[in-house]
Assembly symmetry: D2
Homo-oligomer: 137 residues x 4
């Protein structure tokens, strides 16, 4: 499962473009981290909301994928993000989780934290959404 | 207003990283386009959901900004995206709009279309969300 | 189709409890109205948000149902509501519509307007959500 | 605080119409219960989604209210509900909570469980949304 998710992640060119890395894969719980580098910011020099969303959505989706057999993958049907605090720090970490597994749809969530130079975390975003299982290409 | 929004857009390093461009600024209606380049895709070679979200969110936010005076900018409070169809084509175009203006919060929406080589459009995503006006830095 | 939807609506005891009425059924577009009676209010004497949601959700769901064959019904998977203005007046009217039909899921929306004694309308809520087709019991 | 919230709840005529009761008030955590009575159902005889939403939204809103001073109340700006399982049983219980307090807006959530005759609970809905503090009438 770890290999399958790493391989899928490696084929997502946007993740490489953003500098994101798959940090942890466990059943129903996947983590993605990304450094707050100069090329992923908004106009005030903070992490862009699109960056926060992208890693949160991917972490949630891969969490759903851990509940499925090898012949399946998932696509996002809909996703909501609440921004909770200014994403300041050196890294963002998104922790995906499964709220409700299912055969037809999987309800997922993700929490995104900003991590400062001392390792202190601040909750900066909450995502909830729906993943749809589909047969692999 | 056009200059103000172009200047803000130019300071969003993520937009340059994604290859996005501000295509149109009108009161309550802003458009952003992005080519479907090899560095912004997901594992199946389609536009990444994070790309679609990023330009939709920015188009919606700038649409809200056109309703405010120069001393104000906006931050996204929450945003929801429905993915409607596979984002195939050569370009994505996000059209932001204001659903309900306000002093304390602005309800916004955006429609994202995929455009093929012949210019035909396909509706690929619908976003709705809340922008909060804040005094400029 | 009109009969099928009226019959389903008549079996929803909550609709009768709220005083709601099916006002119009057309392909992909269903309307539900409810008087702002004393038993459906919140603490300030305005229409309760739960009332607005209930008729918006039902109007959206029945709009989806008009796109399906007789052996199918729909269940709401998720629904989002933006409250846009204070729901003052004598009646609420919810107009459901289909954003994207589909076999596995149907993306829907509804606009709720408050109508005053002169018939003037005010847009008070916007709903967007996902309906899942399921075989009829 | 308990009195203030009970008094506000008692003025919500919809809650009485639905048969809902304020079951618990603690800082940042409010519970509302409602019996699954014959007058609050949908066409298949299950709890209507509007019922589930109504008590979830109110529980979330009152949870936010516990974080504010007496001169303030809250209005719902937007709310999303995910339906997770069929709401079968004898009672629904909604547990509201505060995700992120704030002066301008409060991010809230609620979990709704169906309770059967033996007291066993089943998670049937998850709500996330935004409350806006406003001065009391």
């Amino acid at each position: 499962m770890q290999d399958r998710i790493q391989s899928s992640f490696d084929r997502q060119s946007l993740m490489a473009t953003l500098g994101a890395r798959l940090a942890r894969v466990a059943p129903g719980a996947v983590e993605i981290t990304v450094p707050l580098a100069p090329h992923v910011l908004q106009q005030q020099g903070l992490a862009h909301g699109g960056l926060t969303f992208s890693i949160g959505d991917s972490a949630a989706g891969y969490s759903a994928l851990t509940t499925l057999s090898e012949e399946m993958e998932v696509v996002t049907s809909e996703m909501k993000i609440h921004y909770l605090a200014a994403p300041k720090g050196v890294t963002l970490i998104a922790r995906g989780r499964v709220v409700k597994p299912g055969r037809r749809l999987i309800v997922v969530a993700a929490d995104v934290h900003a991590v400062d130079a001392e390792g202190a975390e601040r909750h900066v975003a909450l995502l909830t959404g729906t993943m749809i299982p589909v047969p692999t290409g």
